[in-house]
């Protein structure tokens, strides 16, 4: 009997804690979230999964030729926010996005903007490698082909090769381009997905933990690639590795339970965090 009452109490406690968390006052982001001449601007972005709010009033700019890394504890909404940037959340039933997200000044949630065009301009590498169940060649060639980016087979071959080279996969697969992409190892699959994304030459590349399945060598190749891509593209990368964030990104955003807590120069975030939560996370006291 006693234990039951105890459990009941614990349950109500937990419930009210959840309510409290939900009613928690909107958290003002620390640091300057704007950049001059931004590629994308996000204002007051909120995301709900059904009745559950996953992102709360996030303001964030993504600059040109910069790598922005997003860090934060698991489940804080990094992937959710990232998926807003190319309207990937449209495919999730019950998912609702409010606020404004602009790409080069144009609202991407505008009725007039075609999500297909948007996704050609804002490419994405997913958290779990998801190659098509087709050949390695087809995986990379698919995007350019449907968009009609190349005029000849030779051109397409070349594009496939350069994309695979950039993703650091060419030497491993050049002799078996007609083999299934799903037959590669997890890390190779992820690099194949990266090659697939850059083959379309988007303006912005979203990467959701692209290196979580890679060994240090492949990771180094990808990080090099990211650095190289920065010359022409904007890159947003979600990562759990703070070393990686420090290595590749110019700006860093720290998320916590759906709030954007702090954003700033990567150097400053890692050496001199302004917010208590950021500091706790970076110093390893949290997360």
């Amino acid at each position: 009997m006693n234990t039951m009452v105890e459990t009941m109490n614990r349950v109500t406690d937990a419930l009210s804690a959840v309510e409290l968390a939900q009613e928690r006052a909107f958290c003002q982001t620390v640091g300057d979230f704007t950049v001059p001449n931004p590629r994308m601007t996000c204002r007051d972005v909120e995301v709900w999964y059904g009745p559950k709010q996953a992102i709360r009033r996030v303001n964030l700019d993504i600059g040109r030729n910069e790598v922005l890394s997003m860090i934060g504890p698991s489940g804080c909404g990094k992937s959710t926010f990232l998926r807003c940037l190319n309207r990937m959340n449209d495919t999730i039933p019950g998912c609702r996005v409010t606020g404004s997200i602009k790409l080069d000044g144009q609202d991407i949630y505008d009725k007039k903007l075609d999500p297909v065009l948007l996704r050609a301009r804002v490419g994405m590498v997913f958290q779990k490698p998801n190659p098509f169940p087709k050949s390695i060649y087809e995986n990379v060639a698919y995007g350019p082909r449907i968009h009609g980016l190349t005029n000849s087979k030779a051109e397409l071959d070349e594009l496939v090769e350069t994309s695979l080279r950039k993703a650091g996969l060419w030497d491993e697969v050049k002799d078996r381009l007609d083999q299934p992409g799903t037959g590669l190892s997890g890390g190779q699959q992820q690099r194949l997905c990266i090659a697939r994304t850059i083959a379309v030459a988007p303006d912005v590349i979203l990467m959701d933990e692209p290196c979580s399945a890679l060994d240090p060598i492949a990771t180094a190749i990808i990080e090099e690639l990211i650095d190289e891509l920065r010359a022409n593209y904007s890159i947003v990368i979600v990562t759990h590795s703070m070393q990686q964030a420090a290595r590749v990104s110019q700006r860093t955003a720290y998320f916590h339970l759906g709030d954007l807590i702090e954003v700033g120069e990567t150097n400053q975030i890692f050496t001199n965090p302004q917010h208590k939560l950021t500091e706790d996370y970076i110093t390893g006291r949290f997360g």
Partner: protein, 437 residues
């Protein structure tokens, strides 16, 4: 069994390894029992199938042979082509029954009585004159000669030769009388009776006479009906499934549609027949007893099966594939056709083949739209009167003549062969699509 005593670890609790080991025996025993049960179930199933097949084949294999009588038929020019014009019409109109009768009387000159002569004539099938006519039409140059021609025996003689009529019965209880037996034995002694491959069974339409009845009409009827059913139901079913699964908004209307599709799958098939009769024949005035109407009714019947199976197949395609395609900028339609459909196709084909197999074996709704009519002609298209295999089996099974018993079983074999052919085609198709990378 000498169970080792559980060792006590320093923490005072039994060693987990010992606990696991103690439970292993029980777990394996359960596994063995389950495997045994499964094997028994499969065995029982197999046994039933073997029994069924054995019964059908034993009863039906004799139908693939037919008793023929070789008669020396004098193809007299004066009775076939009296004017000697060689005109086709004249040859077609000639009285071939008379020629056959003459040949028989020639063989049995001692039979003089009218009654007896009629009995003698009846050992040959009523389809024999037709056969002789075709022979003459094929070889008009042989008019005026006497030719040895194999003509089919009547069904009773056929049954006698196949041992289905007991000679030891008293004459009054026997369908073949002593006198006829004598003639047959004499013909047999002269080598004039033989069992030959029953080609007419595969090329004729049905008939009132068992020895002339063939399966070709029903086979072609089933073929046309199923072909049209497939042509209609596969694209419609797959299209509906794709729309409902991938494009339709989730609201009260689509919920209602979904519930109704599931309900339709459970509606007794005869109801579809009534619907077809009222709507397609009554309202639209389509020709009754035709593969066209049959296919429409069967399409209605198989659609729910195909839609439900196709939706399940679409659901089983991992969402990450859709995301990947959308992520590189494919439109919804491209995502569907380039990535989702190829992966869902094997499941869709499985659903379709189940639906088609159901349709192939369906009788009740087709009775309602008149496909039970007695149709001798082999249908040449979708709008010719036709019947289908299961209906033909039903009709033959209902006939009293002994000759139809073996033909019923033979028709079932043909139906099963049709089914196997269909399944084989589906398996081959599926294997092509199933090159899952």
């Amino acid at each position: 069994m000498n169970k080792p005593a559980p060792q006590i670890t320093p923490t005072g609790r039994p060693n987990p390894v010992d606990i696991v080991r103690a439970s292993l025996k029980r777990r394996y025993a359960r596994e063995r029992r389950f495997r045994w049960l499964g094997a028994t179930a499969v065995l029982i199933g197999l046994l039933c199938v073997v029994l069924l097949f054995a019964d059908i084949i034993l009863k039906g294999y004799t139908a693939f042979q037919q008793t023929y009588i070789r008669l020396p038929i004098a193809l007299e020019a004066e009775s076939i082509d009296p004017e000697g014009t060689g005109a086709r019409a004249a040859i077609e109109d000639a009285d071939y029954l008379a020629l056959i009768r003459n040949a028989l009387f020639e063989l049995f000159p001692e039979v003089r009585d009218r009654q007896e002569r009629r009995l003698l004539t009846s050992i040959v099938s009523v389809g024999a004159p037709n056969l002789v006519r075709e022979y003459v039409l094929a070889h008009p140059d042989r008019i005026g000669t006497t030719q040895e021609i194999w003509v089919p025996a009547t069904a009773d003689i056929d049954m006698l030769m196949k041992g289905h009529i007991n000679r030891d019965l008293p004459e009054a209880e026997r369908r073949v009388k002593d006198q006829t037996l004598g003639w047959i034995d004499r013909l047999a002694a002269e080598g004039r009776i033989a069992k030959r491959f029953n080609t007419p069974f595969f090329v004729n339409g049905t008939s009132r006479e068992p020895e002339l009845a063939g399966i070709a009409g029903a086979l072609m009827g089933s073929f046309y009906t199923l072909l049209l059913t497939l042509i209609l139901s596969f694209p419609i079913g797959v299209g509906a499934a794709i729309y409902l699964e991938e494009f339709a908004p989730r609201n009260r209307w689509t919920d209602l549609i979904e519930i109704n599709i599931n309900n339709l799958a459970a509606v007794p098939s005869i109801v579809f027949g009534l619907l077809g009769l009222a709507v397609f024949i009554g309202f639209f005035g389509m020709p009754r007893s035709t593969p066209l109407v049959g296919a429409l009714v069967l399409t209605l019947m198989t659609l729910p099966t195909i839609i439900i199976a196709s939706r399940a197949a679409l659901k089983s395609v991992p969402p990450s594939i859709r995301e990947a395609a959308l992520g590189v900028g494919a439109s919804s339609l491209q995502t569907q056709f380039h990535h989702v459909l190829p992966l869902a196709m094997p499941g869709m084909l499985t659903g379709t083949i189940i639906g088609m197999a159901q349709a192939l074996g369906e009788t009740a709704p087709l009775l309602m739209i008149g496909m039970i009519a007695f149709i001798v002609d082999i249908p040449q298209g979708f709008t010719d009167m036709a019947t289908v295999l299961p209906v033909q089996i039903y009709l033959w099974a209902d006939s009293p003549e002994r000759g139809f018993v073996e033909r019923t079983s033979a028709a079932i074999m043909v139906l099963l062969a049709f089914l196997f052919a269909m399944n084989l085609a589906a398996v081959l198709l599926r294997r092509r699509f199933e090159r899952r990378w």
